[in-house]
Symmetry: C2
Subunit: 458 residues, 2 copies
């Protein structure tokens, strides 16, 4: 019996037949997430468990045989964090997709990891509640995947990232034991915060099989304003002025000239070609029109050439469409994109955008930037022809140059996409030798055999 | 040369004379924080460093000689977490008290650990900013101590606890190496969240020597409402109704009959003796009077016998005075108090309060409860005569009964005070064997010799 046959036989001991995918054509389709430039191996098998016990069985077998396990959600990640290792068990949690509880008094939801973000968001809406984290992939991505990468989204400038909504977790450890972390309560400080340690750990410490999430009351419908600027620097000045004045926008996004042009070309939206930067700001406060008027005045003071506040939800939605199309539009420019995720203190956003323009010129590349600008979190997106080896090489090099610039400006190499395989060497640079050593030693505590999503992060 | 003389000689190598306290009368005064029933040893020496390098020197010497180190802030803790071990170095961070930066655009402050909470709060106010965490001891306690115990306060129902405001840390490890965690940016997911691991770790993983804190814009002045109820259950029903209706109060506090009576006796505040529970609710929204009117109606629907909304800041302050006096008033009842810190899902608050009444009767004790009710976080406070051994024994037993009840109701043994020495055995019960084992192994990663605040937490 080959090694792979032995693995399958042991897995079958505790799993129904339909939980195992072994057809190589099928399993190969589970090899990658949505990141560019990230190598992936060939899975030995894909397991689709439906219960905690089945996950525990998989991990016991993996520990017994020393086989790597790669946990996956919807594979919408952008750093290769869900890419298969050679000969691994892909552990796809998408069938564990029940919402077990929604409690409006305690403002919590208890869910399995495979619940789609949008499904949960809509379900809690029906109880007058709001689950804020809204990554762009929210119609596809799973809560488990969001927890794995500590996902962000458009709402973070007011509502923060996924990490701030995870109160407690059920985790299957590498050896198959079940551990519960955290709490159902609003507060709690009993011992080290292992919940937060697992959020953003990219499946490298254990398998999240359940989560207790904090919810907010549903806010009023947000109202959006768009402002055009003749330079990226002026738009960034406006952002700094808005935040310095104490505003709490529910969204504060920026698209640079390249992105605006790409959206115009794709969707013929009638955005003026003279726009060098487009800022979008929204409020979901009691009187959003008043807040937008104040922000509009700050934009004009910073040199906005046009300020367009929406009058109602429909107009707001129209303004946001341009932002939603940004990544597709940039992909249409040259066929392939590489999306970065550098976050700097928002006071340095202007320096970052000007630096990225310089890097694009130096590398003779088209780089569009859309940004969760209120957070200083940018997605510089290199548009290139993957069939052109020289352009591909320059794209890769520009990517490194941008991360280097981000660190120089006091930023981080990843605001919300995670490290995966894409940014491993950069993680070491950001953490420094002491931080890296302590992180590796924590990994060893939870995964002494190194079977949990090996080759990611470090 | 004795062991103690050897320690002092090595410490003097890297510290100025004024940084060392060795007079036994003086060092003895550093033995305890403010918890009852917590044993403490006698410090060998108290060190008051003024720089990161001095802290590093202390930790290098402690590692070299295997001497325990107990980090301290203002010693206002309530779980014995800052109590000295026998023969330890007390490392008091109170002289490292500089505010290094306040940045209104990035909404961050960079501070040393010895800064007093109120000093920071007032300093950021001058920039139109707000540092929400407000433990009752905020005029005395330090930010480093707040980080060590992940402190809460009155604001948490809207603004969350200290943990949510710590973006990055500088930490001196057990062996004297300096590690930086986290970031200055609004978002960041580069590697495991070691920042959050340190928050609430009670000085058992390393010495926090610097912190980057998130700030909020200063909210409008809050307006307070007081509501009287004829039973604790009715007050808890009101709390559930307020939260279920989607309100976001900036404060939602509860005092039970015993506490109301104690405050009346102490300060002659004219609170009606018929009051079985007093609820206080505040809003710092754009239109707090409207929010208070809505909440007042919910209180009446739940059976409030009187609802008193304040008209302005001065009246609000007057209403809050009763709450602020609660702990002092309970201490005046019998001379000594033991303050617990059990947190349950807010939907179980009524069950907890009725259970505590039962426990008080069974143990023939006076137990007053004041609670951060919006969070389900109660402070059952046993009033007893420390000179009466039988009453002291019953006080200790009731304390255990209350924690057991809290866990039964799906709660935690500590919402905001931490574990220290007071709740060590209860931590094991809350975490379970797997969780406890993983927590201990994380401790070993950072503190292989077991010299950092030994005997706390586990």
């Amino acid at each position: 019996m080959s090694r792979s046959e032995g693995l399958l036989a042991r897995l079958r001991d505790g799993l129904p037949a339909e939980a195992l995918l072994t057809d190589p054509d099928v399993t190969a389709s589970y090899a990658n997430d949505m990141a560019s430039f990230c190598p992936a191996g060939t899975p030995a098998v894909v397991v689709l468990p439906r219960s905690v016990e089945q996950v525990q069985h998989v991990m016991r077998v993996a520990t017994e045989l020393g086989v790597p396990v790669v946990p996956q959600g919807a594979r919408t990640g952008l750093s290769g964090g869900a890419n298969a290792s050679e000969g691994c068990v892909v552990l796809s949690l998408v069938k564990m997709d029940r919402i077990l509880e929604i409690n409006p008094v305690d403002r919590i939801a208890v869910v399995e990891p495979g619940v789609i973000n949008a499904t949960l968001s809509r379900a809690v809406n029906e109880h007058g509640l709001h689950y804020p984290p809204d990554p762009s992939s929210w119609e596809m991505c799973t809560i488990g995947g969001n927890i794995g990468t500590a996902s962000g989204g458009l709402c973070c400038v007011k509502y923060g990232v996924t990490a701030e909504y995870v109160l407690g977790l059920d985790v299957v450890l590498a050896d198959g034991r079940l551990m519960s972390t955290g709490r159902r309560t609003a507060k709690g400080v009993a011992g080290y915060d292992l919940t937060r340690l697992f959020v953003g750990s990219e499946g490298s410490l254990g398998i999240v099989v359940g989560a207790t999430l904090a919810l907010k009351p549903q806010p009023p419908q947000q109202l959006v304003l768009a402002a055009e600027f003749a330079s990226a620097r002026a738009a960034c000045d406006a952002i700094c002025a808005i935040m310095e004045a104490g505003h709490l926008p529910s969204l504060l996004e920026l698209m640079d000239r390249t992105t605006v042009k790409a959206v115009n070309d794709l969707a013929n939206m009638g955005l003026p070609e003279t726009t060098e930067a487009l800022l979008m700001c929204a409020f979901d406060t009691a009187d959003p029109a008043a807040d937008l008027a104040a922000v509009g005045a700050l934009c004009e003071a910073a040199g906005a050439t046009q300020v367009v506040p929406a009058d109602d939800a429909a107009e707001s939605e129209l303004l946001l469409q341009a932002r939603r199309l940004a990544l597709n539009a940039l992909e249409a420019v040259k066929g392939t994109t590489m999306i970065d995720d550098v976050c700097v203190p928002r006071s340095r956003l202007g320096d970052l955008l000007e630096g990225i323009e310089r890097i694009a010129e130096e590398h003779k590349l088209t780089i569009g930037v859309c940004a969760h600008a209120g957070d200083g979190n940018t997605h510089p997106t290199v548009c290139f022809d993957a069939g052109d080896p020289d352009e591909s090489r320059r794209a890769r090099e520009s990517f490194d140059a941008i991360m280097g610039l981000g660190l120089e400006l006091g930023g981080t190499i990843t605001g919300e996409h995670g490290v995966g395989v894409l940014k491993k060497e950069w993680l070491a640079r950001e953490l420094g030798p002491v931080g890296l050593e302590m992180q590796r030693r924590i990994k060893e505590v939870f995964d002494p055999l190194g079977i949990l999503n090996p080759g990611k992060l470090f």
